[in-house]
């Protein structure tokens, strides 16, 4: 794929051609006449990119599993009739001479330590869908061509991505990032693009014309073997030769559906395809190769899933507020590990960090055999503006980082361990405050009653005990590490209507022998002394 010619026929972009050329096609005798080069060329209305993934079977198996630095050569084996054949081989196995269609015995003779495995159709499908999800950033018209292909209509996106060549290269890079080697080609119809890609040609044809595809072998169309064999018996080996056959006879002998396919191939008929629909939630299951016990290893196994989730959210331009990770064990029920976010989040690294904290606080009684990731509902979110400044730097007052800190702390310490404070309207000190849910914004400022500020600062402690603590009495006076010295008081607080909630207390400020100022009261009903607060 070093240099790829862009074949635009004889039309440069921007230049127009008389569309009369189309009329020359579809004569009653031939599907299309052999290319009198200039006649069949005009700007097409659609442009399709086809991704053919010839090594998908082997690449799907390498997904997720962190391959050792020098993996054993691998081949995928399938039973056909009585014999097991190689259907795919990794690059290293190919270097040793293992080829597709070889018997397993022959392959093993070539490479004695060949690792043979079965195909995993689910993973192939998942990988294909992942690529389709990624391809969504180029165009909304993405269609799967199972088992190993993908077509995208990109005519409208060419300008944005800087032309066909750059767009195809960007697609290739996307595939490489996922660990897949594609063959990318572009043509005015999806079938033509696919046929090119399947023939191993990564060409870009931006104008209608059959010149490029007529030389391709018929097997690029993936017709049933017997149809191809019959065509070969009459001396038809390439697409071009098939196109030259009389239409009526072709339809009678080889089936109408194949004639229709040829029509779609040349752009004579429209090719209507089902579009790939992005999922509404993310859900991915992974069975582990070995049982994992260490948190780091589990987190490492989780990382590719989280990365995929991040990609998914990026394409959907959404965030999630909840994500669950289920850890499967051998005997005991699955461990559920749930993260909740204060704001919709979409950052894979952030997820990984939080799961790291969550897992480290988790006690697993059995090793983990499989993991499953389930996202909550998608919430549309706009990515936060990144600040030029670091938080805290001059001008860099960034509140956006605060939810991350709070989520981070909560992931490790538990949701209830991090809370805000709120003032309640109550005369009873113990009910005059409450823990408040933290939110980064939209909380009205708490306002102290201005008139009482100075008085309050003087008479109310900064620390409050959860429960009033009874004090030892000696001669009717309270003690704490010794006698208390009264500084101020009394302050009478009477509140509550109900018998149980009713309080009547005389509050005093006292100092103990260590110099700590205490907020104590005498209950007017039981006459006991209690400590309720400490001045900081």
């Amino acid at each position: 794929m070093s240099s790829r010619p862009i074949r635009t026929g004889h039309v440069r972009p921007g230049e127009t051609r008389p569309h009369a050329a189309r009329a020359t096609k579809g004569s009653s005798v031939a599907l299309s006449s052999p290319p009198p080069q200039q006649a069949l060329v005009f700007e097409s209305r659609e442009l399709w990119v086809a991704l053919h993934l010839p090594w998908l079977e082997i690449e799907a198996l390498q997904q997720g599993a962190r391959a050792p630095s020098m993996p054993r050569p691998r081949a995928i084996i399938e039973l056909q009739g009585q014999t097991q054949y190689v259907v795919a081989a990794c690059e290293r196995a190919q270097q040793f001479g293992v080829r597709r269609g070889m018997a397993m015995a022959a392959a093993l003779a070539l490479v004695p330590d060949l690792e043979t495995c079965a195909r995993d159709a689910t993973r192939e499908r998942q990988l294909l869908e992942r690529l389709a999800t990624r391809a969504y950033r180029f165009t909304p018209r993405v269609s799967l061509v199972p088992p190993d292909g993908l077509v995208l209509e990109v005519k409208g996106s060419l300008h944005l991505f800087g032309g066909a060549d750059r767009l195809c290269r960007a697609l290739e890079v996307d595939c490489f990032e996922v660990g897949v080697k594609p063959i990318v080609s572009l043509a005015p119809s999806p079938l033509a693009a696919l046929a090119l890609a399947r023939s191993g040609k990564s060409q870009l044809i931006t104008a209608h014309g059959v010149g490029e595809i007529s030389a391709l072998k018929l097997c690029a169309l993936r017709w049933p073997t017997e149809v191809i064999e019959r065509l070969q018996q009459v001396g038809v080996y390439t697409i071009g030769q098939a196109l030259r056959l009389p239409r009526a006879g072709f339809a009678r002998r080889f089936g109408k559906e194949h004639l229709a396919e040829l029509d779609r191939l040349t752009g004579r008929d429209a090719d209507l395809r089902d579009h790939f629909r992005l999922r509404e939630r993310f859900r991915r299951k992974e069975d582990l190769l070995q049982e994992l016990e260490h948190h780091d290893a589990i987190l490492a196994a989780l990382a590719p899933l989280l990365e995929e989730l991040g990609e998914f959210l990026k394409v959907r331009q959404c965030g999630i507020t909840q994500i669950a990770c289920l850890l499967k064990h051998r005997r005991i029920p699955r461990t559920r590990c749930v993260l909740r976010f204060a704001e919709p989040a979409a950052n894979a690294q952030h997820f990984a960090k939080l799961f790291g904290e969550k897992l480290s606080s988790l006690n697993l009684s059995e090793p983990v055999r499989g993991i499953e990731l389930r996202s909550g509902d998608l919430v549309s979110c706009t990515p936060a503006d990144a600040s030029l400044w670091q938080p805290g730097e001059h001008g860099g007052e960034n509140r956006g980082v605060a939810p991350e800190l709070i989520e981070h702390l909560r992931a490790r310490l538990g949701h209830e361990s991090v809370y805000g404070l709120r003032v309640l309207e109550s005369h009873r000190p113990e009910t005059s405050w409450a823990a408040a849910e933290l939110s980064a914004r939209n909380r009205p400022p708490e306002r102290a009653v201005e008139d009482h500020i100075s008085w309050f600062v003087q008479r109310r402690p900064a620390w409050l005990l959860r429960e009033p603590q009874p004090l030892v009495e000696q001669n009717g006076l309270p003690q704490r590490h010794g006698a208390l010295r009264f500084l101020e008081g009394p302050d009478r607080v009477e509140a509550g209507m109900a018998v149980q909630g009713r309080i009547a207390r005389d509050y005093y400020i006292a100092r103990d022998v260590n110099g700590v100022r205490l907020w104590i009261f005498r209950d007017l009903r039981s006459h006991g002394w209690f400590m309720q607060g400490i001045f900081g």
């Binding site: 509140r399 800190l405 009205p444 620390w463 260590n514």
Partner: protein, 237 residues
């Protein structure tokens, strides 16, 4: 700096000292500070206030000898800024009494409490995140290796970290920017600076009278301001 040649000596010296190539410990140590709210203490502190990025250690014999009163005016100033970041209280020994904090001028909506048995971890995370203006932590045990990490975290996150530790560790060395012992006195507290980067050691007496509890307004280094209302109106009920 581009003043004409000065006439008298002290002005000349002053302009000379402004030269960027001249490094002076006291001025170089702290660039931005937050006023403590106590004029006497501000004078003793390098650059006139608590450092706004860095770790300070406050050593107390018992919880409640006045260490919190000492910090509340600064916390009020920090949380009262426009678009202030958070103020975190990590593993406080009791419940912070919200109405009293609010009365001291601390903005509660910018404050959160972390309950944990790993205070140093939460302290470090809060400091380093850059999401906090100030982080207060109560940790009875803190190895000196960790103190260094915390100091670096505070600098990185540009946060004021306050670590409350028992008096017994006064002998240990520490990487904190500032170390102070707070002891109770009859009228208030005595603050003894054990270590003060770029400042002097010594002790300051502070009284908790209504006049002394002034709330500094927003801003950088400012001398103490007049209280908003006359002291006579205080204490009336």
């Amino acid at each position: 700096m581009s003043a004409p040649v000065p006439e008298n000596f002290s002005e000349g010296l002053e302009s000379l000292l402004q030269h960027p190539a001249i490094w002076r410990g006291r001025s170089a140590a702290q660039v931005s500070v937050v006023p403590s709210g106590f004029p006497a203490l501000d004078e003793a502190l390098p650059a006139g206030g608590w450092p706004s990025a860095g770790l300070i250690e406050i050593l107390v014999s018992h919880i409640g000898v006045g260490e919190l009163n000492l910090l509340l005016p600064a916390l009020a100033a920090l949380t009262g800024k426009d678009s202030a970041r958070w103020c975190a209280w990590v593993a406080p020994p009791f419940e912070p009494f919200a109405p009293a904090l609010s009365a001291h001028g601390v903005r509660l909506e910018r404050l959160f409490v972390v309950r944990t048995d790993q205070p140093l971890w939460a302290f470090e995370q809060s400091l380093i995140s850059g999401a906090c203006e100030a982080v207060l932590a109560w940790a009875p045990r803190a190895p000196s290796r960790d103190i260094r990490r915390l100091q670096l975290a505070a600098e990185k996150g540009r946060a004021l970290g306050v670590l409350f530790r028992p008096l017994a560790v006064a002998k240990e060395s520490s990487n904190a920017v500032l170390r102070a012992i707070v002891e109770p006195t009859d009228q208030g507290a005595r603050v003894t600076l054990l270590k003060s980067r770029g400042g002097h050691r010594g002790s300051v007496e502070i009284a908790w009278s209504p006049c002394s509890i002034q709330r500094p307004t927003q801003g950088r280094v400012m001398p103490a301001l007049q209280p908003k209302r006359p002291a006579s109106s205080a204490g009336s009920l």
